[in-house]
Symmetry: C2
Subunit: 446 residues, 2 copies
């Protein structure tokens, strides 16, 4: 067996001088040091093309035997896909290469040589292998172009949310993820051993964000939530990212208006900052008009009954059932408002004029629920009454209820699933591809 020429070396004093996007015809004859991983290699006998990918794009390294010498040429021929390396060389204009230029190598330094062939290609808009094969090797999977585009869109969405809420004077908060009491009843919680006690992972920052309106008025949190979701679907995760928003001196109408403007800002930001990604994924952002359509729950039930559906007031409305309405506007974003009080958690405020429905909304995108929000109850006696009606023990909420003796302002808010929104916007089939390392009933690793 021949001795391998491509040895693994330390970074040492080598440093990148340029990113791929900077290597163009204008840089002709300049020396550059580029670094990245090998996204493809093509061997044409006496000439070898190595495509190196870095965070900004791709650059072609062209090793011609007659040009780079026998030793470097032999070494270049050993380079395999996924290898991490650095190349020192001169830029030369080349129409057929990315950005119209290539690098003629003077030195190649392999930092970490790929030992295996990956079970999937990194190019293309989809992968022929199953999602579990990809997830088992997620860090490598994330090198795929498709996921690169999705996660750049995710970054834009998160940044756009922060920008929008900060401009509206919202304070960003962090609420505890280890909690003593189940917020909304207790189903689907992950229990923890908290020193010598039992505790739970927070399903939402609900009660904390409500309390924080006392001091900060308008608060938001973008953080993990945990649900011991027992089902295996394409739209549920056991650990998800929740965008939680709460505002003092506001009701559900105000926060619906806030939420729809936030969605518009998100979509405008993606259109503006992710042009190449949208083009690559061949998707367009939905065209939107304000305000979003609003359907009251009771009206929807009437309409569904008229359309022949066997549905009763008080039932949940399933996406399947909605189809029978044949309303085009139900393909985009819309609100369902004024849900039956009995279907919503204890902290949701019943309407004063009709207490069997409450000041609540769900934001839908087609059949997918994106967000849920409401006006909250801000008085202790009313909260206790609602807890009791829902079979909860007020004693277990002592630490929450006690702050209601000190002037909790009227407030309203919503929670939105970041991965759900991303699914809708980037047309992602499986919610697992909207997060870095998904968790579900079957998957706890990597």
């Amino acid at each position: 067996m021949e001795e391998e020429l491509l040895k693994e070396e330390d970074l040492g004093q080598w440093r990148r001088t340029h990113y791929s996007k900077e290597v163009g015809p204008a840089m002709a004859d300049r020396e550059v040091v580029i670094m990245g991983w090998v996204s493809s290699v093509r061997d044409h006998g006496n000439i070898s093309f190595i495509i190196i990918k870095d965070m900004h794009g791709e650059v072609q390294v062209t090793a011609k035997k007659s040009e780079v010498g026998e030793q470097l040429f032999a070494l270049a021929k050993e380079v395999k896909e996924h290898t991490s390396l650095g190349v020192r060389g001169k830029v030369r204009p080349q129409e057929k290469a990315p950005n119209g230029a290539e690098v003629v190598p003077a030195e190649i330094k392999a930092f970490s040589v790929a030992k295996k062939a990956a079970p999937f290609m990194t190019t293309g808009k989809s992968s022929p292998v199953g999602i579990d094969t990809r997830l088992d090797l997620r860090a490598v999977d994330l090198r795929r172009q498709q996921l690169g585009s999705i996660f750049r869109i995710r970054q834009t969405v998160v940044n756009a949310i922060r920008e929008f809420l900060s401009r509206q004077d919202f304070a960003e908060v962090s609420t505890p993820k280890m909690i003593a009491t189940a917020t909304e009843g207790g189903a689907a919680l992950f229990p923890i051993f908290y020193y010598d006690r039992e505790a739970f992972l927070a399903q939402s920052p609900q009660l904390y964000k409500e309390q924080l309106t006392m001091a900060f008025e308008s608060v938001f949190e973008i953080g993990p939530i945990f649900r011991a979701e027992p089902s295996r679907t394409n739209r549920h995760l056991s650990e998800a990212t929740s965008v939680d928003v709460e505002r003092a001196f506001a009701d559900y109408g105000d926060v619906m208006a806030l939420l729809e403007r936030m969605i518009i800002h998100i979509i405008d930001s993606v259109k503006d900052r992710n042009k190449a990604d949208l083009e690559f994924l061949e998707i367009a952002m939905p065209a939107l008009e304000l305000p979003f359509p609003k359907y009251s729950y009771s009206d929807l039930i009437d309409k569904l009954q008229e359309a022949g559906e066997r549905i009763q007031w008080g039932d949940d409305i399933s996406p399947q059932v909605m189809k029978s309405l044949q309303d085009e506007r139900l393909n985009g974003f819309y609100f369902i408002v004024d849900w039956p009080t009995s279907t919503k958690p204890f902290y949701v405020k019943p309407r004063a004029d009709d207490p069997k429905v409450c000041e609540s909304f769900d934001l839908m995108y087609g059949p997918l629920e994106m967000s849920s929000g409401s006006t909250r109850i801000n008085r202790k006696n009313q909260l206790i009454e609602r807890m009791q009606k829902q079979g909860l023990k007020p004693d277990a909420f002592d630490y929450h209820l006690r702050v209601f003796d000190f002037g909790v302002p009227p407030h309203a808010g919503f929670g939105m699933g970041l991965e759900r929104l991303l699914m809708a916007l980037a047309k992602i089939e499986n919610i697992r591809d909207a997060t870095f390392y998904p968790r579900d009933i079957d998957r706890l690793a990597p």
Copy 2:
């Protein structure tokens, strides 16, 4: 008993028209609706002053019996501290009031009346009551001026970190908090029931952020970490916020340079955006010069031995022991570099020229550890070797090790405790006051 005039009412159609900061002499004779909570009341017989606090400051409401009529005056007299309310009225210049103007009320609407007196004042730079009394009523405690300033500084610090890292092309990531395997050995982990299996809460995003350099090169995360810290101290939390940074094609020298520039940007931002808070807290940001002083671990041990300390190479260096060096520079930020390899986790890279020390650093601020970082090992065989030396089973890390077959780039990074940094900058005595709802061995609520 007299009937109470101050009834609790819903928000209804009332909306705030102005914030406190907008109510000044320039607004004379204009009608405003302000909303907030009552931070103090003064009753002078036929005149009553109510100070209302909102997210931007304070405004004085002046109810003179002869001016507002008997009924409204009687109602104003019933207003108590912490009550949440709205006031409609006219602005009148008043030199002695905040912003040089007061509001003469035409209508007062109480949204939620305080039922009790709080066990602490909301004004002043410190509180005479113990921290547990405050934490038991944390949402009310957070209305205190001191904490208002601290949390505005916290917001600046978080924003400054995001700005700085985004400008350096870092991608913001989210890594799972529920994990199958202990990252750094296994002590001090919180176990979870994960469906039918055992799992743990992540102590750090370490292995995930390292993996993510494969696809994204430069990544950061600001998120919760969980440590089942058994001790009761003023500088440990069971749930803290970690700023985790990892960069490909970089070594520990590069990320130390990054970290110190980040600290400078944070401090400049606080000086610029929190002038009033720094003034109120009577603190100054430290004056800094780049680069921060660097002490090698081995040199420090030599110096400490010369100074008469009984310390051996390989021991940890305690803040107490450092005092004997009487080096002024040890009061500010400084690095301790090149720690013994045996004292650092398996993923830290030993120095090639002297493998008994490793490419590692701690960033200190006086006696407090702020951050810890290193060059990481980027090759599988070396990682396995280090795991075995530290008594870890490589099999348990299969999901991590397998990605090292696909060209993991050389990389380096650090983790920084956000609350620790805030303690140092805002001169906070107890780390619990650097977070919204602290968690420790004794406290799981609120």
